[in-house]
């Protein structure tokens, strides 16, 4: 970080909590444009409009910002994929679509962001659209998130009234319209291509990729789809610069991140920390496990990220750290469960969710989630057999990597990780059944018959 030293930035270890996205949340009515402007709001936009759009793309690339919706794709690179120029795909209109369809179980960061500080999202949208040369932006908000919808819609109206949106924004010659769009209850619409289909007035089912949204997105035009937290990070990066952004977090996962702690902790809530913090550090901030009952399992980033256990308390929660330890960072939705919770039960509940939300487009996910749930329910009703565990793993093996989109992959995560760390609990459900229920000889052959490799 030699740059940081030259520019006089503090490169010592940051504080345990680093409010950037959450820095206005304590200010009353920060969702109102007057308050937002008093708190330096729209200063980043004014500065950004003095630069060339490509400079902003370079800035975000240099910052190392990675998508906050779960996948962690480098944001600047995504913007750079948008074809520019007077011919071919570059000549088409470009679009920014903000994915505010927050619904991954455990995830609850975008909804408070949109309620507390919607203008940071709007300002980020304007800067992003200027960078990618888009004149139309849609913010797709989950339908059940009614109050965030109001706050964002109100922010858009206020921004129009102040000349931050509409024609010739702040005299720059740049035009932008933003529409705030409500979804209608479908988890799958958080998948970016399903979201685009939904925004086009269709069933929310994912599209085959390629072509990717960067060349063929909304209305088959070049489109950037970014998460709320990603876009809301942009104004701070413009104001602070890429070196400042990199004073927080890790080399490959820089910046601050909102970690959402829920479940059996003393003080659940939103904690914005530098990327790479640990559950141990976060638990300390949150007052430890509720009533002192020990931790049993947790998700690092929503139910689609493989479970962790107490042995993962010190795993650095950034994209690399979570992946190295066998899971994914996802949405940094830390759902924390204590020893009183049965793993097979939790896995069954999550599987119910995936079965309900599977869009039905592809067979592995539609049929797989259905049968996974059947088996898990049977086991929970004490009518399972040890062979069911192998069948579960086999079905997961046939869904993972074979489904049309990540929903199918995500559905297997709680099951395979649950069995990996807590196989005995699944076995105990089987031995608890009335005697005579297990025909071990027959079931020993089952893995072979079904092709299970586990």
């Amino acid at each position: 970080m030699t740059n940081s030293d030259r520019s006089g930035l503090d490169t010592s270890t940051p504080d345990p909590i680093t409010p950037v996205l959450t820095r206005r949340w304590l200010s009353p009515r920060a969702w109102d444009i007057d308050v937002y402007e008093q708190l330096e709001g729209y200063a980043a936009l004014r500065y950004a409009l003095t630069g060339h759009p490509d400079q902003l793309i370079e800035l975000v690339k240099a910052s190392g910002l990675r998508g906050r919706g779960g996948a962690g794709f480098p944001t600047g690179m995504k913007w750079g994929f948008i074809p520019q120029g007077p011919t071919g795909a570059g000549a088409k209109p470009k679009y920014l679509v903000v994915n505010a369809d927050e619904g991954e179980p455990g995830t609850c960061k975008d909804i408070p962001t949109m309620m507390a500080d919607p203008h940071s999202l709007i300002e980020g949208c304007i800067i992003t659209c200027y960078a990618i040369r888009a004149n139309f932006c849609a913010i797709y908000i989950r339908g059940e998130a009614l109050h965030p919808l109001r706050r964002v819609r109100y922010a858009v109206e206020q921004a129009y009234a102040k000349g931050y949106l509409g024609r010739d924004i702040l005299g720059s010659g740049f035009d932008l319209d933003i529409v705030v769009h409500a979804g209608a209850g479908a988890y799958i619409c958080g998948e970016e291509t399903a979201l685009l289909d939904s925004l086009e007035g269709r069933r929310g089912q994912p599209r085959l990729k390629p072509p990717f949204p960067a060349t063929s997105g909304l209305y088959a035009s070049p489109t950037v789809v970014n998460n709320v937290e990603t876009i809301a990070s942009v104004p701070a990066i413009v104001q602070g610069g890429s070196s400042w952004f990199r004073t927080m977090g890790q080399e490959k996962s820089p910046g601050p991140k909102i970690y959402s702690l829920s479940g059996h902790v003393t003080r659940p809530g939103q904690y914005e920390a530098p990327m790479g913090t640990t559950l141990r550090a976060l638990l300390e901030l949150a007052g430890g496990m509720k009533d002192g009952i020990p931790l049993k399992f947790w998700t690092p980033g929503g139910s689609s990220t493989p479970l962790f256990t107490a042995e993962h308390l010190d795993v650095p929660l950034d994209f690399e750290g979570a992946a190295t330890a066998g899971s994914m960072l996802g949405t940094t939705a830390l759902q924390i469960f204590n020893e009183t919770v049965s793993v097979p039960w939790a896995v069954m509940k999550w599987t119910e969710f995936y079965k309900h939300e599977s869009c039905g487009k592809c067979t592995p996910c539609r049929e797989g989630t259905y049968w996974l749930l059947q088996i898990l329910e049977r086991m929970l009703h004490k009518q399972g057999t040890p062979a069911d565990i192998e069948t579960l793993l086999d079905v997961c093996d046939n869904v993972l990597g074979r489904a049309f989109c990540a929903l199918g992959d995500g559905a297997t995560s709680p099951i395979t990780s649950g069995i990996k760390y807590f196989r005995q609990e699944f076995l105990d459900l089987c031995t608890a059944q009335p005697s005579g229920g297990v025909d071990t000889a027959a079931h020993d052959q089952l893995p072979e018959l079904t092709g299970a490799s586990a």
Partner: protein, 268 residues
């Protein structure tokens, strides 16, 4: 016979154009697509909604919310209305309406009570809350206690994760949040709704009814300035920020002036 659903009604002129040899009697007489249920105000809102989008079909989700705001559910009339104004077939509209859980296909109560029963809420009491309300109201998932549409009638549903996990267990009434619920608080809430009361949500605007919020979901806000002021700052939401303020923790200071933007990349 699915012909009526599949016909592009925008093409029709009101006279059925079937070949003579096909004898076809609709089981239910088709009403005019522009059914009088949807009044002039609704039509004006429709125009306003469609005008927001580069392509008209993008208005379909908001329009389905709009017809739901008029009738309390998405009826066949509602399907026909959307098809007509967007020049789609009723089959295309039905395909969309049946995909999304927020579009209800039977008349709903004055209020919609959605209890999160996803894993985390369930572990903290959500399942028990749902079971208790179900017993108390005598209805199951997506069923209505009381005559739909009448004051105090309640449609109950169990919902998937409502993205308020730090405030679990949660439920929503007409999509306004009631956080940190217990069996007792949820039961008291539902009883108050049945008596015609409208308790304040933990986060959200003052309660109205399902039809009114469906209008907002369509993007039509009769009182946005009023509704937007509803509370949002739960203690849980602010915990990290609060703790940082108490302990004087801050993000590293930004430079006084925004640093120069990077140079333009070399043109390839």
């Amino acid at each position: 016979m699915t012909a009526p659903e599949g016909q592009p009604e925008s093409v029709g002129n009101g006279n059925d154009q079937f070949p003579d040899e096909v004898e076809w009697e609709p089981a239910v007489p088709e009403q005019s697509p522009l059914t009088p249920v949807f009044d002039e105000a609704t039509r004006q809102r429709t125009v306003e909604i469609i005008a927001r989008y580069p392509q008209s079909r993008s208005a379909l989700l908001p329009l389905l919310h709009l017809v739901q705001s008029v009738e309390g559910y998405v009826s066949q009339d509602g399907i026909r209305y959307c098809a007509e104004v967007l020049e789609l077939t009723t089959a295309e509209v039905s395909a969309v309406a049946t995909f999304y859980t927020m579009y209800k296909r039977t008349p709903c109560g004055e209020h919609l009570v959605s209890v999160c029963t996803n894993t985390l809420c369930a572990a903290l009491g959500g399942d028990e809350i749902y079971r208790t309300l179900s017993r108390r109201l005598g209805v199951g998932h997506e069923e209505t206690a009381g005559e739909p549409g009448t004051p105090g009638s309640i449609t109950l549903e169990h919902a998937e994760c409502l993205a308020a996990c730090d405030l679990a267990p949660v439920l929503q009434v007409n999509y306004e949040y009631f956080d940190n619920q217990t069996v007792e608080s949820a039961q008291a809430l539902v009883e108050a709704l049945q008596r015609g009361e409208r308790p304040l949500p933990t986060r959200g605007a003052a309660l109205t009814d399902l039809k009114t919020v469906e209008m907002e979901l369509a993007g039509i806000f009769p009182d946005l300035a009023g509704a937007v002021a509803g509370n949002s700052a739960a203690p849980e939401t602010l915990r990290g920020a609060q703790l940082a303020a108490e302990r004087h923790w801050v993000a590293p200071a930004m430079p006084d002036m925004p640093p120069a933007l990077p140079d333009l990349p070399e043109k390839r």
